[in-house]
């Protein structure tokens, strides 16, 4: 559907030049919910604006449905955007806002009226048809912006952090709503966010971006369970990083020596740095507190942080660094632990991996 071929974008020239995109290549499939996720300044919004046509690439190509649109202005691309600020036309009613794209395309009045009705229905805003945007709440404006972008039935819908201005509850509702609409309409969604939870819950696939490049593309599960590198593991969810000794590699498995001296087999995707020391990444929920001297690692509890659904145990490994162990709170299952106690840590089988930096 969208082929992004080695796109770069450089602002300015000479020593002040800033490279917003440094060669981005990706393919967005038809009908998928594709998310660009990354910290602010990673280039995700630049890439989105480039797909919309508001930015021209410095080099590289952008293909939409097989056609090179790199040089087409926004109004010639079958792509619509839900803007972060919604950008609803204040001098038009909601119905007129939604019908704007169809009107510009020169569709007959009857068709516009029918589609606007369908769209209002889709976003459950029919009673608001004749209101002005200023008379709506943020969540309602959001729905109108979505309806307006969907009305011309674009091949691709671009969403630029559309939920960031909503409060937590409303955001949750809209996440489900967006996913439903994407399924119902079958339109390809390209969604930009810096909120990893949003990305994980909504996306079919996620592209993790950093410093103008895509670091990894995969399903939410792939990205979370098998981060390709340290940046991805660190950015998505929480991850413990431990320096371990590399004993040997056999295919995709590496044998490592933990700080405690115990040996462990870990998944090792991709090539590893040569050297005696490598980084092991392990999620806090893949660790378990056990009796002192029982697990593969041992240390002392330095802090216990209660989160309602679960508890984070900060464990000081002495020379070997520090770890966080997360365990779900179930009544009467955990022995009452206090800071300062000696504990053992066991690594759940099949978890953890060796990562390139």
């Amino acid at each position: 559907m969208i082929e992004i071929d080695n796109l770069t974008k450089t602002y300015g020239a000479g020593p002040q030049a800033y490279q917003a995109l440094r060669g981005v290549t990706a393919t967005v499939r038809a009908n998928e919910f594709f998310t660009l996720l990354g910290p602010s300044g990673c280039g995700k919004t630049t890439l989105l604006r480039m797909i919309a046509g508001f930015e021209t690439p410095t080099s590289g190509k952008l293909l939409l449905d097989g056609q090179d649109v790199s040089a087409s202005p926004p109004y010639r691309r079958p792509v619509n955007t839900v803007f972060q600020s919604y950008a609803l036309f204040p001098h038009m009613t909601c119905a007129e806002n939604i019908g704007f794209g169809l009107k510009m395309l020169g569709k007959p009045k009857a068709e516009i009226t029918r589609t606007v009705g369908e769209m209002l229905d889709l976003v459950q805003m029919t009673p608001m048809a004749n209101r002005r945007p200023s008379q709506l709440s943020g969540g309602q404006q959001q729905r109108i912006a979505l309806a307006r972008a969907l009305a011309p039935k674009p091949k691709v819908l671009l969403l630029d952090e559309p939920l960031s201005a909503l409060d937590y509850k409303l955001r949750k509702d809209m996440q489900i709503e967006l996913k439903r609409i994407q399924k119902d309409t079958g339109i390809t969604f390209v969604f930009v966010t810096h909120d990893q939870e949003e990305a994980l819950t909504m996306s079919d696939r996620i592209a993790i971006m950093n410093a103008g490049t895509i670091r990894q593309i995969g399903s939410p599960r792939d990205i979370y369970d098998q981060p390709a590198e340290r940046f991805v593991a660190d950015f998505i969810g929480e991850t413990n990083f431990l320096t371990v000794g590399l004993l040997g590699v056999a295919g995709q498995t590496a044998r490592v020596a933990l700080p405690s001296g115990r040996e462990l087999d870990l998944r090792a995707p991709g090539e590893l740095p040569k050297g005696p020391q490598v980084t092991m990444a392990i999620r806090p929920e893949h660790l378990e507190l056990v009796a002192a001297d029982a697990g593969q690692l041992s240390g002392r509890l330095s802090n216990i942080v209660y989160f309602g659904t679960d508890t984070h145990f900060h464990v000081d490994l002495g020379e070997g660094g520090a770890l966080v162990v997360r365990s779900q709170n179930k009544p009467d299952q955990m022995p009452r632990l206090t800071a300062g106690e000696a504990v053992g840590i066991s690594v759940l089988p099949g978890t953890g991996q060796v990562l390139r930096d």
């Binding site: 926004p74 955007t81 803007f83 950008a87 204040p90 704007f100 794209g101 510009m104 307006r148």
Partner: protein, 268 residues
């Protein structure tokens, strides 16, 4: 929370007196003009009782009628020309990629605000007389053109301010929704710019309506506008008829300026 130790200009001695004097100096002469327009007597300084007679006199004065109509005609055409030029200039300076010398262009558009009016007047007089010789055209067009040129920066200021305050993402949304640049201007930019255009046009109209200096230099014989007619009358005998005309002009100006202000504020 207000900082109580903050400098407050009201603490200065004599401030109220100073401010009061300034307002009196500003508005007392205007007030006197208005009061004496109702004078029953023949002078502008000795009160002889209330009367509408000078308003009637002005109304029935053929020369005043003619000058008034000419003033309104000049102001109407000149302000529309000025507003059209101002809209284009404002778009060029706010809706374009930054170009070299943008600051200079801004300065050039605002030139009439900085160059002494008398200099412009002399300049126009010379240029227009050259054109007159070359073409033989003697009509009111010169006055209209001159007015349009010095009214432009006034319209420009209010239109540009409105354009700068507008959300650029709206025009992006228009382009995203298949609007070509021309249609975006027509359907997105213009409807929102309208209050700015209206207020700019009214300001231009008022400025044109009371111009004396440039008009005096540029006009040919028999092309008096209301202000130049009044100036001409002052050279002879001053009667409260001048006060009456002034009062009407004052009311028109106040009404237009207030409307312009309200229009500019609307949905801004």
């Amino acid at each position: 929370m207000a900082d109580r130790k903050r400098f407050d200009v009201r603490a200065l001695p004599g401030l109220s007196f100073m401010a009061g004097s300034c307002f009196v100096l500003l508005y007392l002469p205007i007030l006197l003009v208005v009061i004496y327009s109702f004078n029953a007597g023949n002078t502008v300084s000795i009160w002889e009782g209330f009367s509408w007679r000078w308003y009637q006199a002005a109304w029935n004065n053929a020369a005043v009628q003619e000058a008034t109509l000419r003033s309104l005609m000049v102001a109407s055409i000149a302000s529309v020309l000025a507003t059209a030029a101002a809209v284009l200039a404002a778009l060029a300076t706010t809706r374009s990629r930054g170009f070299r010398g943008r600051g200079i262009v801004l300065g050039l558009i605002n030139q009439p605000l900085m160059v002494p009016e008398i200099v412009t007047a002399v300049g126009l007089l010379i240029v227009f007389s050259m054109i007159k010789v070359a073409t033989g055209y003697q009509g009111i067009g010169y006055v209209i053109l001159a007015h349009a040129s010095f009214c432009t920066p006034f319209a420009f200021m209010s239109i540009r301010a409105r354009l700068q305050g507008m959300d650029l993402s709206l025009e992006n949304a228009g382009a995203d929704l298949y609007g070509t640049p021309v249609r975006i201007f027509r359907h997105v930019t213009l409807p929102q710019l309208w209050p700015g255009i209206l207020s700019g046009w009214m300001l231009a109209f008022v400025i044109s309506l009371d111009n004396v200096v440039i008009t005096e230099f540029v006009k040919s014989a028999g092309q008096d506008t209301l202000p130049t007619y009044m100036l001409g009358q002052l050279r002879r005998k001053i009667t409260p008829e001048i006060n009456a005309i002034s009062t009407v002009l004052l009311l028109i100006s106040i009404a237009l300026v207030i409307t312009a202000y309200l229009a500019g504020r609307k949905r801004a």
